[in-house]
């Protein structure tokens, strides 16, 4: 299968007062076309940072130190090296080709706008031309249908609108409407764009199985339940049918029944759109449920990556084994992993897991383990495998 995103030697560091934090260290990761790749790991293992690095949204004082992230866009664009793109190009990719669903649906929605407004914004940002085209068609049908005195008064205004929307539909940056859209009161003149966007929004809300979407669109976030909010956030992320959907712990803050619905929704979306999904979670059950392949991260490094059945049936890395043992089971005493997560300021030398590893050797303390293939499509970074 072809790769959609190829990450090579990615390093993300945070320059804090206490020292340099190695949030991600020499990460190699491929996301294939149409697959769901899960990233699992403890808090602070660099899962979310990997996601933010793909979008180039690493917060200050973090920096992408080195490496490359190549995004392969089949419909135009071709291979794009995301780390060297200009900020403007990057903005046209965010939310459009690559979009993200955040962990907490409650706080990922702006409390002062309605759900509809917020989803429309995505269309207005990335689908301006298409909206202009639709608006133009609407004005044209008005011009051809309109008759009577009132309409003949409005006719010159419609002609002006047709010219305006035609401009928007043709060029991506026409001067006149651009000027208009920056002046607060004149912005209202482009209301047809907003109308078209809200039509698309209602369709989008229907797609994520929100009942009565037209009514929900005019609600504020605090008027909706957690599950509905998460659906709205997913609708926002899917608005422009992205090639890659990054889901950062999308089910963590939801209760179990809603979680199951969300996972079902993700599966359906993937089947419908053929998008790849990068699914970040610390819940192994969830990962087993939705993912095609699973990557395990520890302290900013990749430990193991394999197909979902392979990794759950034949875990090779001691950390993966320990994680699987730590899943609570009825009738079995809970196994914990001794020790604490490696200190990112002063990471242990060699393999970062060695202080907690039951089978560590002297070699593990000195030399870092490289990824190697132990079975087909099963890569492990461990000296013992």
């Amino acid at each position: 299968m072809e790769n959609l995103v190829t990450i090579r030697d990615l390093a993300v560091r945070f320059y804090t007062y206490e020292g340099v934090v190695h949030a991600i260290d020499d990460l190699d990761l491929d996301i294939r076309q149409g697959e769901t790749l899960g990233i699992v790991g403890e808090t602070g293992s660099g899962k979310s940072m990997t996601a933010l690095a793909i979008l180039r949204l690493i917060p200050y004082p973090g920096r992408i130190e080195s490496g490359s992230i190549v995004f392969f866009d089949r419909d135009g664009g071709g291979e794009l090296e995301l780390l060297t793109l200009s900020e403007g190009r990057m903005r046209s990719i965010r939310g459009n080709k690559i979009s993200m669903v955040f962990q907490e649906p409650g706080s990922a929605l702006n409390p002062v706008y309605t759900i509809g407004d917020q989803i429309s914004e995505v269309f207005l940002l990335h689908r301006r031309q298409e909206l202009g085209h639709r608006a133009k068609q609407r004005v044209e049908s008005l011009l051809s249908d309109g008759s009577g005195l009132a309409d003949s008064v409005r006719r010159p205004f419609w002609r002006w609108q047709r010219r305006l929307y035609n401009k928007i539909a043709q060029k991506s940056h026409p001067v006149e409407p651009r000027l208009l859209s920056h002046i607060p009161l004149f912005r209202r003149l482009l209301w047809r764009l907003q109308d078209e966007a809200s039509l698309l929004t209602v369709n989008m809300l229907k797609d994520v199985e929100i009942p009565d979407p037209a009514r929900v669109a005019v609600h504020y976030p605090h008027e909706l339940s957690g599950g509905m909010k998460q659906r709205a956030v997913i609708a926002m992320a899917l608005a422009c049918s992205p090639k890659l959907l990054i889901a950062d712990e999308p089910t963590t803050s939801l209760d179990v029944t809603i979680q199951a619905q969300m996972l079902e929704l993700f599966r359906r979306i993937k089947a419908d759109t053929g998008a790849s999904v990068l699914f970040i979670t610390h819940n192994l059950g969830v990962a087993a449920e939705v993912c095609d392949r699973v990557a395990v991260m520890y302290a900013g490094r990749l430990c193991e990556i394999a197909g979902v059945e392979e990794i759950f049936l034949h875990p090779s890395h001691p950390y993966t084994k320990a994680l699987l043992d730590a899943v609570p089971m009825p009738g079995k005493e809970l196994q914990t992993i001794p020790g604490a997560l490696a200190d990112a300021l002063n990471p242990p030398p060699g393999c970062r897991f060695h202080p907690r590893c039951p089978s560590a050797t002297p070699m593990c303390q000195q030399e870092r383990a490289r990824l190697k293939e132990v079975a087909k499509d099963h890569m492990v970074a461990c000296h013992l495998c």
Partner: protein, 289 residues
């Protein structure tokens, strides 16, 4: 929102006071007609040059103050000056505060450091003394008073907005909107500011009264409008020597200081009550049902 405003008796009083003052200001030419042959309507007409204030009589219903300036005309037209000083100064100050505060808060780093150290410099001076120095430097007039008040009051607004933006900046929806491809300008204007502007609006409505009071204080010190300009501070300034009457009749000239004083008092009180009402309504922590 309108219903909430009217329900609270104090805020209702505030609204009534401000509306009455607004009517006085709008209909000033009808309430206190401009005498014929009078060139600048903002200059108070005077009836002679005697220093002693004259008590209210038929011709001057609030009496005249030192220099025979008509108090009634002065307070009515002074309402316009008060609104102008209050609204213009607050408008400009809030605009400066929003621009600088949101730049500093959102982008942080060096820009934040530079803007905040400049506000520190301004905040290091006692406001009224700095305002006096500025007026003295550029020459006393109502416009200099306004400039001076703008210069001394923008830093606290920039601070307030910066703080609120800093808080909002960490919210997920800001990151989410960046993740959806919004530019920094769009994020600030559409997402950060609407969530952080309310404390500023409350402070602005409370401050209009304080600004008018400060302008009156500067005028009282003789640093404000030119002599005879319709301005409440100026009128109280005229009454400076007549606060206490001759022995045995110490309240003889009460009207000279009390009437403009009451106008200032009610104007400031009105804005304060309105500001409190705004706070109760706009602060989401107090008002979200």
């Amino acid at each position: 929102m309108a219903r909430q405003l009217v329900k609270n008796p104090l805020s209702l009083i505030g609204i009534i006071i401000i509306v009455v003052f607004a009517i006085l200001a709008i209909f000033a030419p009808l309430i206190a007609p401009i005498p014929e042959g009078h060139r600048d309507p903002y200059m108070i007409p005077r009836d002679g040059y005697s220093a002693t204030p004259q008590p209210p009589n038929e011709e001057h219903i609030f009496g005249t103050t030192e220099g025979q300036y008509d108090i009634f005309y002065g307070v009515i037209w002074g309402t316009r000056s008060a609104f102008r000083v209050g609204l213009v100064v607050i408008g400009i100050v809030v605009a400066i505060g929003i621009v600088l505060g949101s730049l500093a808060g959102y982008f942080g780093g060096v820009l934040d450091e530079i803007i905040m150290r400049i506000t520190d410099i301004f905040l290091a001076f006692p406001a009224l003394i700095l305002a006096m120095a500025i007026v003295a430097a550029i020459g006393p007039s109502l416009r200099s008073v306004m400039i001076a008040l703008i210069v001394v009051s923008w830093p606290s607004y920039a601070r307030l907005i910066r703080g609120d933006i800093l808080q909002v900046r960490e919210e997920d929806y800001i990151e989410a909107s960046r993740g959806l491809g919004a530019s920094s300008g769009r994020v600030i204007i559409r997402h950060a500011l609407p969530n952080s502007i309310y404390p500023t609006l409350v402070m602005a409505s409370l401050d209009i009264g304080a600004i008018v009071l400060a302008a009156a204080a500067l005028s009282f010190l003789g640093l404000g409008a030119p002599e005879g300009y319709a301005d409440w501070g100026q009128l109280t300034s005229f009454a400076r020597n007549w606060i206490v009457g001759p022995p045995g009749n110490s309240l003889k000239y009460w009207y000279a200081v009390t009437i403009p004083g009451l106008f200032i008092l009610f104007f400031v009180l009105g804005w304060n009550l309105l500001g409190d009402a705004f706070r109760d309504i706009l602060d989401p922590r107090l008002a979200r049902r």
